[in-house]
């Protein structure tokens, strides 16, 4: 896929991966083997009929491709950009055994972009059922849940605490990876489905989950607030000026437009030598934003090796191309003061890999006597998140011992009518998993509200072996309505 050159892109926030042209897409489709038992579908967290949509593109039925994609994935333009395909569909593509796997993510993105450009988003006839459903959080889980429920005729309201909708797609993922206009287009689709989005609303504090059910006439509630509370390491020097979370850095830049300070009022106060602790996607985003904001040097400091880095491969590769310096097997033990309350340096220790830990990865152990000073004036933590405490503080929702919301396999919480999904249930994961959880919860809410599911296949399982019921021949009387397509 064509990309902006590293020299050029570190000076702008435009999208790095420029996307397929029509010709690129058609060439790529021809590489798909249309396997009879496609591994890619099994590898996709939401089970997209991948060969199905690719064959439609190959047949030049692009809208048909979109229809297939959007059956399983409501946000293809977003997921095509941010899914870790190498661990999912593309990771199991048999073409990849010998050659590069089929670029499923890029094709998905291409179809998603065509849909936005040509306004193909499906606006089905919606039978209004007057059932009010409230959704807490406008990120990928909430968006997906809202779309499915709106299509089922519910009156859906999404509450967002920030002043703009989109959740992590807005404040977290930078423009060069996911342009705001793509997020805007997906939000506009929701509004077109009749979803009401109310920003500036902190659920839990402005009103509680219980009040939504008892006083505000919501028949069901979905919670998709994300995990969101940044972790720190509890080492000395963490409150010095110049130490911040990747969440804060990204929010200042992506949501509050710190890159345009002082036209916009929110500053970032970037350091010259910026060290990002961690090596996941958030870390990559923080590094690449720092580079574009004008840092002289950007470092990745990670206690394991490149092989264990949890980042999407493409992002890691792009970060390396952009001149970010990687310090594998390195961990900070203290952040040092310049005498005026700012960061002067970190004291770091070298690590080596020991025995595998519970995650199956070899756990890093410090090398004795290997401590040294690492010159930096800004330290950014991207080492994961804890669950946000607000709903726990303000409702009787049952939480697990880590503080995440406890649900059953249908995503029902301990309060009847209240469902939850995404990072606030599982801990930090991916956009596609959050979206999948939002749709799973929408299905449960439809059942809870006794909404007939027009997608369900009627399977007459209680037919007697002789095919009769009360002496009536079922096949002849056409009682067994198996949906045939």
């Amino acid at each position: 896929m064509p990309v902006q050159t590293p020299e050029r892109r570190i000076k702008n926030f435009d999208e790095v991966a420029l996307g397929f042209t029509l010709e690129d897409a058609l060439v790529e489709c021809a590489r798909c083997l249309d396997c009879p038992e496609p591994a890619c579908v099994a590898g996709c967290p939401v089970g997209i009929d991948i060969p199905g949509f690719i064959m439609k593109v190959a047949d030049k039925d692009y809208q048909g491709a979109y229809e297939i994609l959007s059956e399983a994935n409501l946000l293809p333009a977003i997921c095509g950009r941010v899914c870790p395909q190498e661990e999912q569909c593309e990771g199991v593509c048999p073409v990849g055994d010998t050659l590069e796997p089929v670029a499923i993510g890029r094709l998905e993105r291409w179809v998603g972009d065509q849909a936005i450009e040509n306004d193909w988003s499906k606006r089905p006839y919606i039978e209004n059922k007057d059932l009010k459903v409230g959704i807490v959080g406008s990120g990928p889980a909430g968006m997906a849940c809202a779309a499915d429920l709106a299509k089922a005729g519910c009156a859906v309201t999404i509450y967002e605490a920030l002043h703009e909708p989109g959740g992590v797609l807005r404040y977290g993922i930078p423009e060069f990876r996911l342009p705001n206009e793509v997020v805007d287009a997906e939000i506009a689709n929701l509004v077109n489905l009749g979803v009401e989005i109310q920003c500036n609303t902190l659920v839990g504090r402005l009103f509680t989950i219980e009040q939504m059910l008892d006083e505000m006439d919501f028949r069901a509630v979905f919670i998709g607030t994300g995990a969101g509370s940044p972790k720190f390491m509890q080492i000395p020097g963490e409150t010095l000026n110049g130490v911040l979370s990747a969440n804060e850095l990204l929010t200042r830049c992506n949501l509050m437009m710190a890159g345009k300070f002082p036209q916009y009022d929110t500053p970032l106060h970037l350091g010259r030598r910026v060290a990002i602790i961690g090596s996941g996607n958030t870390a990559m985003d923080a590094m690449r934003v720092s580079m574009r904001m004008g840092a002289e040097k950007v470092f990745c400091v990670y206690r394991r090796t490149e092989a264990e880095s949890p980042a999407r491969k493409e992002e890691l590769h792009h970060a390396q191309e952009e001149g970010i310096e990687f310090h594998w097997l390195t961990a900070p033990v203290e952040i040092l003061d310049d005498g005026e309350g700012n960061v002067r340096a970190m004291r770091c220790v070298r690590m080596e890999l020991g025995e595998p830990d519970e995650s199956g990865r070899r756990s890093p152990v410090p090398v004795e006597g290997s401590e040294y000073e690492f010159e930096t004036d800004m330290v950014v933590y991207a080492i994961g998140t804890n669950p946000n405490p607000i709903l726990g503080q303000t409702s009787r929702l049952k939480l697990n011992k880590w503080g995440y919301i406890e649900t059953d396999e249908n995503l029902a919480t301990s309060i009847a009518g209240v469902y939850a999904g995404g990072d606030i249930v599982t801990g930090a994961a991916t956009v596609i998993l959050a979206m999948g959880a939002g749709r799973r919860a929408a299905r449960s809410i439809k059942e809870y509200l006794l909404i007939r599911d027009s997608e369900a296949v009627y399977l007459p399982q209680r037919i007697n072996t002789d095919g009769t019921l009360f002496g009536i021949d079922l096949v002849e009387r056409n009682f067994a309505r198996l949906r045939v397509e």
Binding site: A161, G228, S229, N241, T251, F261, H269, N388
Partner: protein, 289 residues
């Protein structure tokens, strides 16, 4: 999203002004000690402000703002009755614990005078004996004296120059209250960090529980950015979700004051740039609206 209408504005001095904003749900939910985040316009900062008052019948919340930096000076220039705030979200933070203290001293200084009021009222409604102590630079900056007198059993004004009440800082007022009453259960102090630290030090020898309300730099105010980290009892806490109230005897005020200087340079740049633009755009001084 439509904005949030400002229904009243009142100017207490050249720098201090009051905004009463219509938001019935917020007025219904607000509790003493909580704060909101305000955005004046779409390019603005998210500014945390402690709620100074709320009226559930009228459906309004009251904010008192001191115009010190670019964003607050801009609010002073733009926010008039009849205009809208672009963003207003809250109430945020854990409400103050208005417990069963029988005798309390509620201390407010500078920015903290307004937000200490709902606490004083809350304690009074709970049946406590309330001693109000408020500090101003001089007599002409005093506001809300009548409101405080209505809910305080004793009320002490302190001024730097002695033009009203006691001459000296609010700690003088605390000293007077502590000397007179041996049975004070709790002191609540809201104001600049240096004042809150002085209050905490004034009560420490007497072992009187002293709660303070911290207002560090924050972005979202929902626990997501971690910018509002404060050190309390050696542990890191997020003021927005764990606070904003903390035990003043455990707060590391030096750390807090250092962190409040985090964007000092940027704030200066923003203010200078804004002042320059204002001079260019508004040739006659004193123009408003």
């Amino acid at each position: 999203m439509s904005g949030f209408p400002i229904v009243t504005r009142e100017d207490f001095s050249d720098t201090t002004f009051l905004l009463e904003v219509h938001h019935p749900a917020l007025a219904k939910a607000a509790m003493p000690g909580q704060f909101v985040i305000v955005m004046t316009h779409g390019q603005g900062e998210r500014i945390p402000l402690t709620i100074a008052d709320f009226d559930r019948v009228k459906g309004t919340v009251t904010l008192v703002i001191q115009a010190v930096g670019k964003s607050t000076k801009e609010m002073q220039a733009l926010c008039q009755a009849g205009t809208d705030l672009f963003g207003l979200v809250g109430p945020m933070g854990e409400p103050s614990h208005i417990g069963d203290a029988r005798k309390v001293v509620c201390v407010g200084g500078g920015l903290g005078v307004a937000p200490i009021y709902p606490q004083a009222r809350g304690f009074k409604e709970n049946g406590a004996y309330v001693i109000g102590v408020v500090g101003f630079r001089s007599r002409d900056l005093v506001f809300w004296e009548d409101k405080f007198r209505a809910c305080c059993d004793e009320f002490i004004i302190c001024t730097d120059d002695g033009s009203a009440g006691l001459k000296g800082l609010v700690t003088e007022g605390i000293k007077q209250a502590v000397e007179k009453h041996a049975d004070i259960d709790e002191v609540v102090a809201i104001g600049p960090p240096i004042m809150m630290r002085a209050c905490a030090e004034a009560t420490r020898p007497h072992g009187i529980k002293t709660m303070v309300s911290l207002n560090p730099v924050m972005v979202d105010g929902t626990g997501m950015c971690g910018g509002c980290r404060v050190k309390v009892g050696g542990r890191i806490q997020f003021a927005c979700v764990d606070g904003p109230d903390f035990d003043g005897h455990d707060v590391d005020f030096d750390d807090l004051m250092n962190r409040l200087r985090r964007f000092a340079e940027d704030e200066k740049v923003a203010l200078e740039r804004w002042s320059d633009t204002c001079r260019q755009q508004i040739p006659t001084s004193g123009a408003d609206g």
